[in-house]
Symmetry: C2
Subunit: 338 residues, 2 copies
């Protein structure tokens, strides 16, 4: 059997894995719950089991796996394989790389979840055929990654892509991290939750209170946002439009600076709602382009791969680190059966 | 004699030209007044005379000049050599390229003034030895250009680099062109002039009224800004600090997104005042870096070449368009005798 690599997206809620062969074909994918409350040891064991499962489904044993690459939601040390900090997992200084490598008997690389997602979307998703693309991920925060001239723009200190921390209004709200009035402080799910609460607290009627109870949730999830919008809830409608407005301004800023071919919006809300989330932000962005004439030459679309972008991107990174070039040409049509 | 190229910066007030030989050495440079009120014909004749003068000073006739490249302050058509629009010259649809080519009997290329300046600064000035650099030019507007991985990032529509149109506060002032609350609307010389006038009109005492009269000026020039600051004028001091604050936020936004090695601040104020203009903006920028630890790994400096950046950059562009690679190695030491 030909050798494969495994790409994994390690999230706070779920982990997703995909196998990719030597020519870039996607073979299998699977998922598992993360349950970080059980501690790093249990999570790493679940990761190992998931890797074995996707390999087995592809008809391979771990001996056929050249490398595993994990997209981690936090700061990592690429050399040592240690996760420095991952707030969504409540991890600090966890030696994920060496532990998993020993358990599986294969090489394990770590990378950042947003960086692998943008590379997956670029190679296998909405970015196919482009050269310069920005990925913007709207979730609890707002993350981003840049592909310039066909490769990830890492930056001088290796920290490029932080579109979420672009200041859009210095008098704006303070986000959990980063700058006051940043894109994240206006357009993240956390920002929407804050704005929804403030309106409800000020006496505005909203179905969201009922929806949170029904679903036994305390946080505003993408599905609750969608249900509230479906019910034409005035609070959610207003807050959603406000987030889209600031997202649009942020996209215009980046487009005026970089003039990319494509901006892809990812993250839970975009995955769930697609154009319903993206279209109004795109309209605001186009209004604020300096060169409006050809505004639509900068395409702004929702993620095509959704949650599969990150594990596929991680697999590409694994291949690259093994120093074997990947050829993701003409594999897009395999996505649906993968 | 070996062949040379001529690079020209065509400004609204003055035109500057430089000759560069085949190995990238700077030979001569000179200048002339533009006097655009005399009309395009007279300006083009002055350009021709200036080109002949710098060539003669280098011991060459126009037969030894392989090409001339002009950095134009406006929109140009690279193919036809027509200046579509250049507000500072009051030009519209001026066939600068073909007219000058016929007059001089050599090839003439056109490019944008900011783009050639950033390339000059990169190859011969503060950017030497870097790979990724942003040039920000603070003048009547705020322009910019990006060097990524050693080459100008032109963008998908060819309009990348518009850092001046980044929205920093959507409730901010409206600039002459572009977006409300853009960096340009806060930090350009035009914005400073507006803010100075507003404070004086509101009854604040300022030496600027006297300085404008003494110099027989109606517009706030870089030299008047400097003199007013020297005299510790409270209005100018306040307005200057405000512009630096917003410039700093804009630099932080770009740095968080692109993580460049270097940001070079050019334009009249930076040319005249250097660190006095740049240092406070840098401090504000560093405060707003997402990764503060290594903030100083992103250098932020004033232009080294000042007004020589654009003609030298134009000469490089001429060489490149002639498809002959230039080698600007070890020529920096020639700058002072050029």
């Amino acid at each position: 059997m030909s050798k494969i690599v495994i790409g994994v997206d390690l999230g706070g809620t779920k982990m997703l894995a995909a196998t990719v062969d030597q020519t870039g074909n996607i073979l299998t994918n699977d998922r598992s719950k993360t349950q970080p409350a059980d501690g790093p040891g249990a999570v790493i064991e679940r990761l190992a089991t998931l890797c074995e499962a996707v390999a087995a489904a592809a008809g391979r044993s771990m001996k056929d796996v050249e490398a595993v690459c994990i997209g981690v939601p936090g700061g990592i040390n690429e050399e040592t394989g240690v996760v420095d900090i991952a707030p969504n997992l409540a991890w600090e200084n966890v030696p994920l790389g060496p532990t998993l490598a020993k358990r599986l008997g294969t090489r394990v690389f770590l990378d950042n979840d947003v960086r692998v997602a943008v590379q997956g979307e670029y190679a296998y998703g909405a970015g196919r055929g482009t050269r310069t693309m920005l990925g913007v991920y709207v979730g609890t925060g707002v993350g981003g990654g840049l592909i310039i001239d066909g490769k990830l723009h890492e930056g001088n200190r290796g920290v490029a892509g932080e579109v979420g921390h672009m200041i859009i209004d210095p008098h704006g709200p303070k986000a959990k991290r980063g700058n006051r009035g940043s894109l994240e402080s206006f357009a993240s799910r956390t920002a929407m939750e804050r704005d929804v609460r403030a309106l409800i607290d000020s006496g505005k009627k909203s179905v969201i209170t009922k929806l949170l109870k029904k679903k036994n949730r305390t946080r505003l999830t993408s599905s609750i946002i969608e249900e509230a919008l479906d019910e034409k809830d005035p609070v959610m409608t207003k807050v959603f439009a406000n987030a889209q407005y600031y997202l649009g301004l942020g996209l215009a800023n980046v487009a005026n600076l970089l003039d990319p071919e494509l901006i892809v919006i990812g993250g839970g809300i975009a995955e769930r709602m697609g154009e319903r989330f993206v279209a109004p932000a795109r309209a605001i962005a186009y209004e604020h382009f300096l060169v409006k004439r050809d505004a639509d030459h900068v395409r702004i679309v929702a993620t095509e791969l959704k949650e599969r972008a990150a594990p596929l991107g991680a697999a590409l990174v694994a291949r690259r680190r093994l120093a074997k070039p990947v050829t993701p040409i003409a594999v897009s049509q395999l996505l649906d059966r993968a």
